[in-house]
């Protein structure tokens, strides 16, 4: 038995080795770099000076405000559409369910980069009949989804296109796991289809809805690919989103120390948001060893 004690640690070691290098150490190294500054080819220690600068950096904080707003809009949009689709696919009103499930989920297999390229071209007014139609409805005023004011909605549409089917698949799976007896009981009590959906199905999906929404909001804070690629088709400020700002700080302005400062700050903010979520909801649970498992009987 003595030999066995090391086994789980050995099995975990490849994962945690990478974890230490790329999660812990990379953040530590970014923090170390952030304590220095370069001027005229010389590097010198400045302590937390860079963080004081970041604290007063309006561009950084407005980029954070932008992604927070985006995260909320995206979570609500995707949540609503995905939920409605999942409920409809679970109701008797729709024919050809398997095909719809496939089509809605398909964008998951398309790289975000390609999705952005496709929509980016579709947004260009000389190409798009839909935008022309909208323009004629608005008295000939063209809609430019790529101008700075509308850009966020353009990106919102790309994100919706990409992730709605993914979330719908999860919700639909959740509905599939509910026992049918619940619906029979509802029917006896005289619930309509819509009442069943609102009063029974949605409440039972609560935990999965909370989890997917929060995970997608945390992901949205990292918004980068879409604005970077759309930057080739239109003008986008270099500090549009936090990650774009961090990227440009390193690669366009070659200020690696300040870039490290901002990326360490963003990682901390993300981590704080994640932990806050974890402790507030308690939705996420790891599978604790169940009695059945310990006694060795299989489910």
């Amino acid at each position: 038995m003595k030999r066995n004690r090391a086994v789980p640690y050995l099995m975990l070691s490849p994962f945690f080795l990478l974890y230490v290098v790329f999660f812990v150490y990379s953040l530590c190294y970014a923090f170390y770099l952030s304590l220095f500054a370069s001027q005229a080819g010389e590097t010198f220690f400045v302590g937390l000076q860079n963080y004081i600068q970041a604290l007063h950096d309006k561009a950084f904080w407005s980029s954070i405000a932008l992604v927070v707003a985006f995260a909320l809009m995206q979570a609500v949009t995707i949540l609503l559409v995905a939920l409605v689709l999942a409920l409809l696919l679970d109701s008797p009103a729709v024919k050809g369910k398997a095909l719809f499930r496939l089509i809605y989920f398909l964008p998951y297999a398309v790289p975000g980069v390609i999705a952005t390229i496709m929509w980016g071209f579709l947004y260009s007014p000389q190409l798009d009949p839909i935008l022309k139609l909208v323009a004629s409805l608005r008295g000939g005023k063209p809609v430019d989804l790529l101008n700075t004011r509308n850009l966020l909605y353009g990106i919102l549409n790309i994100a919706t296109w990409e992730w709605t089917g993914y979330n719908m698949t999860l919700y639909f799976a959740g509905l599939t796991a509910l026992p049918l007896e619940i619906y029979d009981a509802a029917k006896i009590d005289g619930c309509s289809e819509i009442q069943t959906a609102l009063r029974i199905k949605i409440p039972l999906l609560r935990s999965i809805i909370v989890f997917t929404s929060v995970l997608s909001m945390i992901g949205s804070l990292q918004l980068f690919n879409e604005p970077l690629l759309l930057g080739s088709l239109t003008t986008i400020p270099s500090s549009y989103t936090p990650n774009l700002y961090i990227y440009n700080m390193a690669f366009r302005f070659s200020n690696f120390h300040y870039s490290a400062t901002l990326s360490f700050s963003l990682a901390l903010i993300t981590l704080a948001a994640s932990l806050l979520f974890l402790f507030l909801t308690g939705v996420v649970r790891f599978r604790r060893p169940s009695p059945a498992m310990r006694s060795g009987s299989a489910p």
Binding site: V21, S26, Y29, A93, V113, T169, A177, F224, R287
Partner: protein, 306 residues
């Protein structure tokens, strides 16, 4: 649908009849709903259909013909040939890179996650709860948040422009560990491990010879999810590789896209962008009807237990 029996007394057949509306016959304005579903279906298919049409056009046709209408002459094969010949087949080099990166990442991440998930699901040890917590925390921190710190590390260790820099950071998959932990807990009976021990097999032999064959469907699911994730990745390779011969597809195509804003007199290579984009999504989209079930089953197991 699911890879494991869902705890309920409902059979597949009952559910089928429930969704067919048998018995109740109450339909929530069927026609309106179907129109809504079809419109959304069109929305999800529209960009892909447009890309397919656009790949058959020359640059001038792209801007002079209706977006979903074919031009008089179809230039699909011309575009394909030009793309293939461009820069001694650089595009196909990127394609090969993407296949190598994605296969390596998916295989490695699946194996590493399976080992870790197996340890968490089947052993009791002192730091188990701590290990759980650490995996959970990393699950909630998206890879993009770490991309620049990882780049700074890679840069300091002189590993920029290597296969290593693209592949190794992606081998860490918190979702994979979480997923394998749930999957192995559900599908692998502990008594099989015990009987293996009685037969004198070592713990690693039990993992390789007994556990691996049983959890194969779960391994395949994770492989597919990791493969798609790596194939679609953009941020990290953008930071750590600049050598044109080492780029994955997403980055290579981005090079062409970025020439659109460049203030040169050269016309951007639109046909390359369209054809290159189409070919990069084609295998996955064509295989998706087959892969969907496997992926959905995995998401369900991983997702529902949260």
């Amino acid at each position: 649908m699911s890879t494991k029996p869902v705890a309920s007394s409902t059979t597949q057949l009952q559910r089928y009849h429930h969704r067919r509306g048998q018995g109740s016959g109450r339909i929530v304005s069927g026609v309106g709903v179907m129109i809504f579903m079809l419109l959304l279906g069109a929305y999800f298919l529209f960009p892909l259909l447009w890309l397919l049409v656009a790949s058959t056009k020359s640059t001038t046709e792209l801007f002079s013909t209706p977006m979903l209408g074919l031009a008089k002459e179809v230039h699909f094969w011309n575009n394909l040939r030009d793309l293939t010949l461009e820069n001694n087949g650089l595009y196909w080099r990127w394609y090969l890179n993407s296949i190598v990166y994605s296969t390596a990442v998916a295989s490695g991440a699946t194996l590493i996650s399976a080992l870790a998930g197996y340890a968490l699901a089947k052993y009791n040890f002192v730091f188990k709860q701590t290990a759980f917590m650490l995996v959970l925390i990393s699950l909630l921190v998206p890879g993009a948040a770490l991309s620049v710190p990882i780049f700074l590390l890679v840069r300091a260790s002189g590993m920029v422009n290597t296969y290593f820099a693209v592949i190794v950071p992606l081998l860490i998959s918190p979702f994979g560990v979480y997923f394998m932990n749930v999957y192995i807990g559900e599908s692998m009976p502990t008594e099989l491990i015990n009987s293996g021990r009685v037969d004198g097999a070592s713990e690693f032999q039990i993992f390789l010879r007994i556990a691996m064959p049983i959890i194969r469907p779960g391994l395949l699911t994770l492989f597919l999810i990791a493969f798609i994730g790596a194939w679609n990745n953009f941020f990290l390779p953008l930071l750590v590789v600049s050598d044109p011969n080492l780029l994955p597809l997403t980055l290579g195509i981005n090079i062409w896209v970025s020439t659109i804003s460049a203030s040169t007199n050269k016309i951007p290579p639109y046909p390359f962008i369209m054809m290159g984009s189409l070919l990069s999504v084609l295998p996955m989209v064509v295989l998706f009807p087959v892969l969907r079930k496997q992926i959905a089953a995995g998401l369900i197991t991983g997702g529902l237990k949260m």
